[in-house]
Amino acid sequence: MAATTAPIASIGSYAARRERRKAIAYGVFFLLVALAIFFFFVRNSAPGMESTFKLNPTTKEKVIQLGDLVLPTYQTLLVLATVVGLLGLYQIMRGFKRVVLVLGLVALLFVFAFLVWAVRDKSINLLGILTFTVAAATPIAFGAMSGVMCERSGVVNIAIEGMMLTGAMVAVIVASISGNLWLGLAGAVLISGLLGVFLAILAIHFRVDQIIAGTAINIFALGITSFISQRFMQPNPALNSGGVFSKVAIPGLSQIPIIGPVFFNQSPIVYILFLTIIAIHFMLFYTRWGLRTRAVGEHPSAADTLGVNVFKIRYVNVIIGGMIAGVGGAYFTIGSVGRFDEAITAGKGFIGLAAMIFGRWNPFGAYGASLIFGFSDALQARLQVLGKTQVPIPSEWLLILPYLVTMIVLAGVVGKTVAPAADGKPYTKD
């Protein structure tokens, strides 16, 4: 007995030591962030500077007006650096219970410090940034929802990018021909659903490795959209001018300060997203179909034994997933710029996949993650406007941010993520 308990005890203390080391590492990291705020931001500003954040929409809408948020740059930055530093010290000495939340807080404070510094002696419309965040997060979130639908049932869908790209093109073509944006949207949903069928047949019926199947669809989408774009849309620009959904303010809700203009004065596609998120959440956790979907994603043979039709569940989920990706694709064209360009999706489908992982395969979590990615997009666009002297960083570097954040998320810095157990495994009925 003694011989067996001794090593276990030492393993236990080893694990504890590892935990302790990890906790200290977090604390040191927080301290480094505090130092970064101090050296990069505090030292590059002076007392007397002011950072102005406007909180009212630039357009003339009836909202409750708010005063501008004016902060003394130097003092605010000093306070932020101190707060982050204290968090780091506490983490080293005592340790937070939920350090991941503190990590999020530190990241938020750092971004805020960066903003305060970037707009020293200038003003920026915070509301504008947030509105753009919601817009930029929309296609990413549709990608993430598509991923949630597929992967909860155990099928990895890396073809989201290709589905979106095809949807984007078909949406603008159909909208141009018919002159009806809703028909364009329907076209996008239909074509992406078809690609979903294709993925489902390859992955479920032929049991092709799902990443290879998805890659093939992505390449196919890239090829066919470029082909059609060059053969039809470039010689005939009338095919590439479908118009854009105009923003719709939801009466009542849109008049709430800050939240109203940010969330409830957007393109109809954004509202479709909200409904989709709620629907998927309800479907997954409160319906029989959702229970079966999750069962099939975690343990298909057990589900099969209980009489669940694994193949049917997977087929339907993948096809719906494809259709959701199509709506996201339509947002690129008839939701924002109104025209299709080759490779217009620019990897947003993959970022959506990362948002799904970041959100741990939960619809609301994935939307939160999409908003973070959207925010880094919005930040980049706004800071470019502020100019070089204000922010002496090439704007391209900020463009890299979403991709970098994705890699950091995947590396598990923000906590462990656990995929559905049967994710990616083809099911063979014996």
């Binding site: 196919f220 082909f227 994705t406 598990g412 990616g424």
Partner: protein, 423 residues
């Protein structure tokens, strides 16, 4: 596989072995050929249904059935004929040989050989990129980041190529080559390290690294950017001391020594994979990482090595293209080649020689497609579609089997990459 590593099979299994091997060889040759053929047929159908004249002829089929069929054949013939001639120019070469035999000099033959040499030239980056993906596949990793690795390789080699001055060629050229190889290796090695130490899936990370490389390059290469000329969004030209030499001086013939480097690397990769201890370990990790770990292999370190070597091959693709063919780098450098490479690896069954053959085919197709675009106004993207279809048919051989009513293959095996996303 070498003798030493094959466990001695039981007697009855030995008897069954030759038969299995035969069908395997047949599958390894027959399926890729049928896959490419079928993909080209679908490509032709796509050309037809997007051609207004052909579609109209078929809509009025009963008025003039012969005309519709003739127009169909003409359209496909024009497109693929242009592709075939643009890529190989066999007729021209025969005439050239005839001229030479008649004693009219070799000038005509030299010009006639340009399309064929260009096909080989275009194959060179495909060979390296295809090897990169196949090498990673053998180790059980999916390197979808060839695009970014090629770009980084090209940027590194072009930087050394124009920035380092006053060197003799035998120092400058190897230096520029090493820079490209190292750039690709590091770009992919990061992904390998992330997989090894955090469990993050290599596919998403490679794709992220692709976009980072593309954005960085658009910053470096924009007009007035750190690597660009002040007036145009391309780098300054590579100095001639860092050129990989071209072998012919006929105008338009860009065939270069890199082709032979590619052949050497095909052999080298084959040797590493099948004749070295490292290769054995790599294939073992690819077949079953758990078993490999229990047999004492450091799987994590090997993952990093596999990605780094794979990346160095992709970097070489960018490097050779830069130092031998373009001799400068502009935005949009690799143009989908990193993705085409996946098809190459699948088509060549991850075997270096198979990849070589597939790359020669793709180089020829790509070169011919450029001609097809100018003669028949068919966008070169048709080749991307064909490549995607080839991947589908290779990955799902049941489709090919169903179309051509082939018997079921004796051995079903395919690499598995879908194993969860991250830690």
């Amino acid at each position: 596989m070498s003798e030493a590593t094959t466990p001695s099979a039981p007697a009855e299994a030995k008897d069954a072995l030759p038969e299995v091997k035969n069908t395997r060889l047949r599958d390894a040759i027959l399926y890729p050929i049928l896959a490419v053929f079928t993909a080209l047929v679908i490509g032709a159908i796509l050309i037809l249904v997007t051609d207004k004249a052909v579609v109209n002829a078929w809509l009025n089929f009963f008025d003039d059935p012969a005309g519709a069929l003739r127009l169909t054949a003409q359209t496909v013939g024009k497109a693929y004929g242009a592709m075939f001639n643009g890529a190989l120019n066999i007729g021209g070469i025969i005439q050239g040989i005839g001229a030479m035999l008649r004693g009219e000099g070799t000038q005509q033959l030299a010009i006639a050989l340009v399309p064929l040499s260009e096909s080989l030239t275009q194959s060179v980056p495909y060979i390296f990129a295809g090897l990169a993906v196949a090498f990673a596949f053998q180790g059980g990793l999916f390197n979808i980041g060839g695009e970014g690795q090629m770009l980084v390789g090209a940027l590194c080699s072009v930087y050394v190529g124009f920035k380092v001055t006053g060197m003799p060629w035998f120092i400058h050229l190897p230096l520029a080559m090493m820079a490209g190889i190292a750039g690709g290796a590091i770009w992919a090695g990061i992904v390998g390290a992330l997989k090894a130490y955090t469990g993050a899936h290599e596919v998403i990370n490679s794709i992220m690294m692709n976009w980072i490389a593309i954005i960085l390059s658009s910053w470096l290469l924009k007009v007035g950017g750190p690597l660009a000329r002040p007036d145009v969004p391309v780098t300054p030209p590579v100095l001639d001391t860092a050129w990989i030499p071209r072998l012919f001086d006929t105008p338009g013939n860009r065939f270069h020594a890199g082709f032979f480097l590619a052949l050497f690397v095909v052999w080298l990769v084959w040797w590493i994979l099948y004749k070295s201890t490292l290769g054995f370990q790599i294939r073992m990790v690819g077949a079953n990482p758990k078993a490999a770990r229990y047999s004492g292999i450091n799987v994590k370190r090997l993952w990093i090595a596999i990605m780094a070597i794979s990346g160095s091959l992709a970097g070489t693709a960018g490097m050779v293209q830069t130092l031998a063919v373009d001799r400068w780098v502009g935005v949009g450098f690799s143009a989908g080649m990193g993705f085409d490479a996946i098809a190459l690896a699948l088509l060549g069954r991850n075997h270096p020689v198979g990849v070589l053959l597939a790359a020669l085919l793709f180089g020829t197709l790509k070169n011919g497609a450029t001609r097809m675009q100018s003669v028949a106004q068919i966008p070169v993207d048709i080749i991307t579609i064909v490549i995607a279809l080839v991947i589908v048919f290779i990955a799902a051989p049941e489709i090919i089997r169903a179309i051509y009513r082939l018997p079921k293959a004796s051995v079903e095996e395919g690499p598995v990459f879908t194993k969860g996303w991250g830690s």
